[in-house]
Subunit: 408 residues, 2 copies
């Protein structure tokens, strides 16, 4: 059988491997200091709490239920915790506004599946989260650049979308400490994006996996909270909020959620039912127990650690990076975004960086749907301690300085 | 925001709620004897083994790794167990031929995503598994009837597929103790289907969740094993085998797999990466431990129990059902398929059955993509003990007899 390629659906041509996932393999080389993976430090997981939770469930009267099929919308106990969490964020909602997903990555896949016909357009930040590009690509969409700063008119977005035979279905953004830039969208821009979406009669997808990882500065209300204020409540809101436990408690249980108008949730439940029936009840109930007991205390503790690492990386960049480089100063999350002098190619740099400087990072081009951004890179400070950060940035900066000099 | 409907993709119009999933709610009424849910008996889950496995992982040196992101293809330890399992079934394969999925339902979704463009055709048994219809529907396909008994020519299938602007991408079947009929496809028909697929240059999707639940009779080799024999090995084979732990050890961990040529697996890994990154490592490693220790012993034990229930149901049907009813005699699995006299409507019957006879079942129409089969029903014997089976079938048979008489 040599005809597989001829049997694939048209959409398959847009499915490509993630450079980042390939790079994760570099983490296994003990001699390389990795700023590559956008992942939490596994040393910080509340493993004992999870151990206790699984022990309670599997050793108790709930064991059989936890090992059985569950309802597609998710376990009520976990949805109830999330409802309380969303209320703390300013979103008044009920369990019927929550769908449990297998990580927020699955939320993005389902939103693509529900909204995108071939030729439709999604507005995205530039650069944007690579996983969102990959999830949406399966639905053969077009990307256009969401940039509230330019005051580009809604009619212009709409016209461009019509040219590819579709319409703008949603604006996608990660408003807090975005992957890859670390930047936060300010209050004024959030209101502008909501107004733009209203003018385009489209939805807003708010991807908020880093929301609880704020290290300083004042929290900005979620887009969904602002939308509820504006429209009178979640049932009138156009914002689809994607939350996640992956960066706060553990990514390994693959647990995220969508919070939105119940009308949309009921459609997404059908998608969940048809695509994997339900997320494991056992994992949901274990996560509910851990979240109830220590979400606040645990995130406070890990945020102190991540803050120190961010500070160490900013300090090291300041100290070592050659002139002509710029970088972001994130108030939370896991990433600092570096712009090298024009003409530098971060993908080229990566190879010598891993081989000679023994430092890994992610070249920025992958985050640009148009293939631009060759001179950018993403540095993650989440998995290295302060000493390694200082050492790694100093080695990387030396290599960059050499590269810049050799280009002169 | 009142315009959600106008924002949805075209495919959304084909997403409908499952009657069966709604019916699962009836299981919670203690006064109703349910033959409805196609689910394993939760009392039979090896809960202690799972408890031990989670304890070992979360209390040991692997805890941090189990709570972290994992690779999209799945944990090597679990894939290694599956490779040995597939070899026992006559399929010589390696870990790169295995993708771990969140239940075999996710395997069906991914195969639809990889192969089906709008207007393409899948050949399916009639009746067929409802979850497959739901999974494939998202990809806007057509269904045609796979019936090896009719000797319909490949050219005729191909011509019909062209009429809807696509081609036949795969034949989908559940060859062992199928949901909903309980029937097994014989060796000769398996060869015929492989030959038909060869003539159509299409794939074969072999959905085998019940494969290990054989109670008597001789095992028939999987389609994939026959295909490997015929073509010289898995890399030349056109069959995509979907396996599952859901009916053998536990559905709650949501663990299944696809076994196929590595070329297809590598494409499916990209789909997995873009749709939910990976299935939880913790669950995979727990399942690997339980499967290594007691898959054979556990399935032997539960098969004895299910066999007794099947026998009890066949005996009760023989004893109580009125003339004019026919039913299947499955060699394994969970289902008996009943045909009522023509003119009877099983969906109408269900309401009075639940209210008056206090017995639940699934009307058969849902399993027919063309809406036929009104006089059929699926009875599951997996979750009721012999006494309840005798009692439930006797009550149901009395109601059917009354209904048949009133129609005369």
């Amino acid at each position: 059988m040599t005809t597989w390629e001829s049997l694939y659906a048209k959409r398959a041509s847009r499915m490509r491997a993630s450079e980042i996932r390939e790079l994760l393999k570099l983490l296994d080389r003990p001699d390389v200091i990795s700023f590559a993976g956008g992942i939490p430090d596994p040393e910080l997981f509340p493993a004992e709490s999870f151990q206790k939770a699984y022990e309670e469930i599997l050793g108790g009267p709930e064991a059989a239920k936890a090992l059985q099929y569950g309802v597609s919308e998710g376990s009520l106990r976990l949805r109830t915790w999330i409802v309380a969490h969303m209320r703390e964020l300013g979103v008044d909602c009920a369990p019927e506004n929550i769908l449990i997903t297998s990580g927020s990555q699955q939320a993005l896949d389902y939103l693509g599946k529900l909204f995108l016909s071939p030729g439709d357009t999604a507005l995205v930040q530039w650069p944007t989260y690579l996983g969102a590009v990959q999830a949406f690509n399966a639905y053969e969409l077009q990307f256009d650049r969401l940039d509230p700063g330019t005051n580009r008119a809604a009619a212009d977005y709409a016209k461009k979308a019509e040219e590819t035979g579709g319409r703008v279905k949603f604006a996608y953004l990660s408003p807090d400490f975005a992957n890859p830039t670390g930047l936060t969208v300010g209050l004024e821009d959030r209101h502008r994006i909501l107004a733009l979406a209203e003018n385009l009669s489209c939805a807003v997808v708010e991807d908020a996996p880093y929301e609880s990882l704020r290290y300083d500065g004042d929290a900005v209300p979620p887009m969904l909270a602002l939308d509820c204020q504006k429209t009178g409540g979640i049932e009138n809101s156009r914002t689809l909020y994607c939350g996640s436990f992956s960066k706060s408690l553990s990514p390994g249980l693959r647990l995220g959620w969508i919070c939105a108008a119940s009308e949309v949730i009921s459609r997404l439940v059908l998608i969940k039912q048809a695509s994997d029936l339900n997320t494991p009840v056992l994992n949901q109930d274990a996560m509910a127990r851990v979240a109830e007991r220590e979400f606040a205390a645990h995130t406070a503790r890990t945020n102190r650690i991540y803050r120190a690492r961010r500070d160490a990386m900013l300090e090291a960049l300041e100290k070592h990076m050659p002139e002509g480089c710029r970088w972001t100063r994130p108030e939370g999350g896991m990433f600092i975004w570096v712009e090298l002098p024009a003409g530098c190619d971060a993908a080229e740099l990566l190879q010598s960086s891993v081989e000679r400087a023994k430092v890994a990072f992610v070249p920025g081009r992958a985050f640009h749907p148009d293939g631009s951004g060759a001179n950018t890179m993403r540095l993650s400070f989440s998995c290295a301690d302060e000493r390694k950060i200082e050492e790694g940035v100093s080695r990387l900066a030396r290599l960059i300085a050499e590269t810049v000099t050799s280009k002169l």
